[in-house]
Structures are given as structure tokens and as C-alpha cells.
Amino acid sequence: MAYFIQRLLSMAVTLFLISIITFTVTNILPGDVAMMIMGTQSNPAALANLRENLGLNDPLVYQYGRWIFGMLTGDWGNSLLFKQPIGPIILQKMTASALIVLLSMTIALTLAVPLGVWSAVYKNRWQDTASSSVSILGVSLPDFFWGIMLILLFARALGWFPSSGFVHPNEDFLMALKHAFLPSLALGLGLMAHLTRMTRATMTGILSQEFIRVARAKGLAEKTVIWQYGLANAIGPVMTVAGLQMGYLFGSIIVMESLFNYTGMGWLTYQALLNRDMPLIQATVFVIAAVVMLVNLIVDLLYPFFDPRIQLK
């Protein structure tokens, strides 16, 4: 419990720093919100008036205070692009992205763990070389390139999956999965590479330990030795790396959702950046950083579940 409270406190400090960085970076923008609302050709007097009304003449510290107070009390302001309150938009897009993030992580883990174990068991044999080649190819291709290839193959040539769009899971779950599948697969293939390498490295270390030799010596089936004795000990570090990959994933969804016109958080961030929708940029960047941090916290808290020897202090 003490550990949990300590982590929460440290999270609050990090969130505060994240908000400062977000606010600072977005305020280097030339031109301000008033200019964006009224356009560059607008009447200077009206512009000055609007600036005063929006509080853009106040010192930056005041503006920051107002912004962070709004964020904390649920008033996230209005998007200039969509002309709607930001909070509900982000909530809806987050649901869409959660589907992609979870699906791609599932795809990556289901492929990477067996492949990594296989590699470690047949270390330095052809099976190992084959799996290493697959994973090095996975990291080397940009994920949007995977995306394009998957569109060509599964959407255009075979017609199995739609190549763009988003369906909300509440409307039609199967269709939602179909729309999310190709972008998730493209992301999963990129993720898989790192996870395979991690699984292989951890498994190699564990398979060379004494208790594995003992398990073999007392006549346990090789299957039990590898999956129950070996993998049970290797899964902790693999899950930690998977948690850390969440950050990478939340960066990649910006490219992937734009490619597939999948209207989730990544697509929203991209639209905000392209149209210089300042309040929306601030909110999306802040929310993504906060979510990445939260996911890492959850992985840390789940660690004893994967490895009962670990106690959180």
C-alpha cells in the first residue's frame, strides 16, 4: 500500500511536468488562438478584442493556471476544428484507439512469445536463424509500409477486410473488429520483432539454469520443462517490455490511423496538428502522455502477478 501511494504521488509530479512541457511546446507556435479563429486577414481591433476576451494577453503563468485548472475540473475547452467540446471527442476517440492498441498487443504477443521460445530452444540452429531474420525484418520496415502492403493484399487483392474507416464496437462488434484488424496487424508486426528478441534473450538465460537441468533430469516431459518451468520465469521481463512498448504504440497509431482513416486518438492528434488546433493539440498530447504513463504504472503493479517472487516495496 505504501508503495502504491508513493507511486501515485510520483505520478502526480510527472503529470504536472507533462502538463508544463505540453503547454510550453504548444505556446512556441507563431500566431495564437485568436488569429486561428478569425483568420490572418481579420480586423486588428476585433482581433485585439478577442485576445482580451480569451485572456491571451495575460501572463503565460496565468494562462497555464487557467488551462490546467480546466483540465483538472473537466472543462477541456472547445476544439477550433470541430467546434465542439474537447472532452467528449477525446473520450470517444480513445475507445476507438483502445481497440487497436489492445488488438495489436494481442497479435504481437501471440506471435512473439512462441517464436521467441522456439528460437531459444533451438538456439543457433536454423529455427533460430529463421526467427531472428523474421524479427529483424519486422523492425526494419516502417510500419506504414506494412500497412500499405496489407491494404494491397487483404483489402484490394483479396477483399477480406475493409481498407479504411471505423465502426464503433457498440454498433456492430464484428464490423468494428474487421475495421481494426488491418491497422492492428500492421502495428503488431512491428511490435512483434522487439518482443521476440526479448523473449529469446530471457528464455536463453533461463534454459541454461540449474533448475531446468534438474527438471529434465527427473524426467519431466520437455513440453512441461519449456512452457511451465521456463516460460513461467521468462514472462515477467517480456511483459515489462510489452508495457514499455505502449509508448511506441501510441506514437505509431498517429501514422497508422491516418493511413487507414481510422478515426481514433492518433487520427485526432494528426488532424489537430495539421490544422494547428491549439486547444485540441494540448489536450491530445497531454492525454496520450498521461495514458502511456498510466499503462506503465499498471504493468508495474501487475508484475507480482507474473512473477510471485517479486514484492512491491
Binding site: V139, S140, L141, P142, I148, L152, G247, G251, Y270, I288
Partner: protein, 275 residues
């Protein structure tokens, strides 16, 4: 002798060959190929498949893909190298100071670095690029800043380890100053890790540049860039898949080469991590 031998395995040879080829193309292609070759439009030969006149086919404006992909090498290598150098220039002193002195300096600096690490690198790079206005120079700055926290974190860990070594202690007791200890004793001993990480960062920087340009927030037309070429190919995938395959393969081969080279470099320079 033994060091050279270690490079001569399958992975090493392929990695070095690929990296060497791309670097040579990046340096010499712009000197040999007249710039108009890559911008000359031939509307009658739009989206033509690979043939004798155009080895790799043409794009939607009838421009020769072979020349464009060759010239794109310079853009990619240029941006990736400058960005990684920039993150080294900021991250190396930061990590060294943080790891060497420890204590409060370390706490404050690493807190900042950890916060920056909560921002996905691509998101940070995209935001910086959008804020500064996308062009070649700002793409370098954006990727450079986005990569800095990763390097700083790694260098800090290494500096911390080396600073506790007996030989550093020995130098300190014989009266060496802090700056002399950092530059003369800590820095040279963390160089292997820095070199390996920089090589791997180069691979990531090339992917990041391609991603940024693909989204229109990196290199801007008419500059030839692999990411831009893939972006342009999106509308013609059905009729002309080669417009995506040519630049995509170029990115893949470059990153593949850098990754393999980095792996072998790690085995040679950093024997502790050998698997």
C-alpha cells in the same frame, strides 16, 4: 586482427555492405545524377512499370523512380545523421553529468528525462515539427529532440557504472579534477555503448523521418524523400504498386543494414552484452 575477424560473419558482411552502399549513394548520387533527371516530368510515361528507359518505373508525374530514390538517400541520411548528432550533443553532457555527479543534479535531470519519455518519440517529433513549421531543418530538430531523452538515460546509466570503477577512484585520489575525470576516464569508457546506440538510433531516425514525411510534417516537396514518395504512392496503389515498393524497399534495406551493423558492432565493442 581478431576485431576484424569478428565483423566477418554473415550478419556483419551484409550489414556493412548495405550501410556502405547507402552512404556512398547518398554522397555520390547528387554529384553524378543531374538534378533535372529526378524532377523531369514525362506525362506520357506516367506510372509506367519498370522498363528499359525507367529501371524502376515512374511515379504519378512521370518522374523516374530510380533517380528519385537515389537522391532520396541523401535526404534520409542527412536528416538521420544530423538528428542523431544533435541528440548526442545534448544528451551526452546531460547523461555524463547526471551519472557522474549523482545526487540532486541526477534526480532533477532524470525526472525531466523520465517525463519526456512519457511522450511517444514520434508524437513529440510530430508536435515539434508542426509547431516550428515543417521543413528540412525543423525535421532534424524535431527528431533530434525526440531522441535525446533515450540517449541521455542510457548514457547516464553507463556513466554511473563507470564512475564507480576502481580506476576512476584511483585517478581521483591522485588528484584529478572532476572535468578531467569525466573527459579523460569516464567518457572514453562509455564510448562503445554510445557508438552502438548511435548506430541503432540512426536506424530509428530514418524510420522517423519517413514517418514524418509520410504525414506531411517532415521533408517538403519538391525535395526527394522516401517517406514523401510512399505518401504520394497511396492514391495509385492499385495501378502502380511499384511507386510504394521502390522507396519502401530503400527504407527497409537501409534500416536493415544499420540494425545488422549495430548488432555486430555491439558484439565487437561491448563484449558484456554478448548473447
Amino acid at each position: 586482427m581478431s576485431i576484424f575477424k569478428k565483423f566477418l560473419n554473415f550478419k556483419g558482411i551484409i550489414g556493412i555492405t548495405l550501410v556502405l552502399c547507402v552512404v556512398l549513394i547518398a554522397i555520390f548520387a547528387p554529384l553524378i545524377i543531374p538534378p533535372e533527371f529526378a524532377t523531369k516530368m514525362d506525362m506520357r510515361a506516367r506510372l509506367s512499370p519498370p522498363n528499359m528507359a525507367h529501371w524502376m518505373g515512374t511515379d504519378q508525374l512521370g518522374r523516374d523512380l530510380f533517380y528519385r530514390v537515389m537522391l532520396g538517400a541523401r535526404t534520409s541520411i542527412n536528416i538521420a545523421t544530423s538528428a542523431v548528432l544533435m541528440s548526442l550533443v545534448i544528451g551526452l553532457p546531460l547523461g555524463l553529468v547526471s551519472g557522474y555527479f549523482g545526487g540532486r543534479t541526477d534526480n532533477v535531470l532524470m525526472r525531466l528525462v523520465d517525463t519526456l519519455l512519457s511522450f511517444p518519440a514520434l508524437l513529440l517529433a510530430l508536435t515539434i515539427s508542426a509547431v516550428l513549421g515543417p521543413n528540412l531543418q525543423n525535421t532534424i530538430i524535431a527528431i533530434g529532440i525526440a531522441f535525446t531523452p533515450y540517449l541521455a538515460r542510457l548514457i547516464r546509466g553507463e556513466a554511473l557504472r563507470v564512475a564507480q570503477m576502481p580506476y576512476v577512484e584511483a585517478a581521483r585520489s591522485s588528484g584529478a579534477t572532476n572535468s578531467r575525470l569525466i573527459i579523460g576516464h569516464v567518457l572514453p569508457n562509455i564510448m562503445p555503448v554510445v557508438i552502438v546506440q548511435s548506430t541503432i538510433s540512426l536506424a530509428f531516425a530514418i524510420l522517423a523521418e519517413a514517418g514524418l514525411s509520410f504525414l506531411g510534417l517532415g521533408t517538403q516537396p519538391p525535395e526527394a524523400s522516401w517517406g514523401l514518395m510512399i505518401q504520394a504512392s497511396r492514391d495509385y496503389l492499385d495501378r502502380a504498386p511499384w511507386t510504394a515498393l521502390v522507396p519502401g524497399t530503400a527504407v527497409a534495406l537501409t534500416v536493415l543494414g544499420l540494425n545488422m551493423f549495430g548488432d555486430v558492432l555491439r558484439d565487437v565493442l561491448d563484449p558484456r552484452s554478448q548473447s
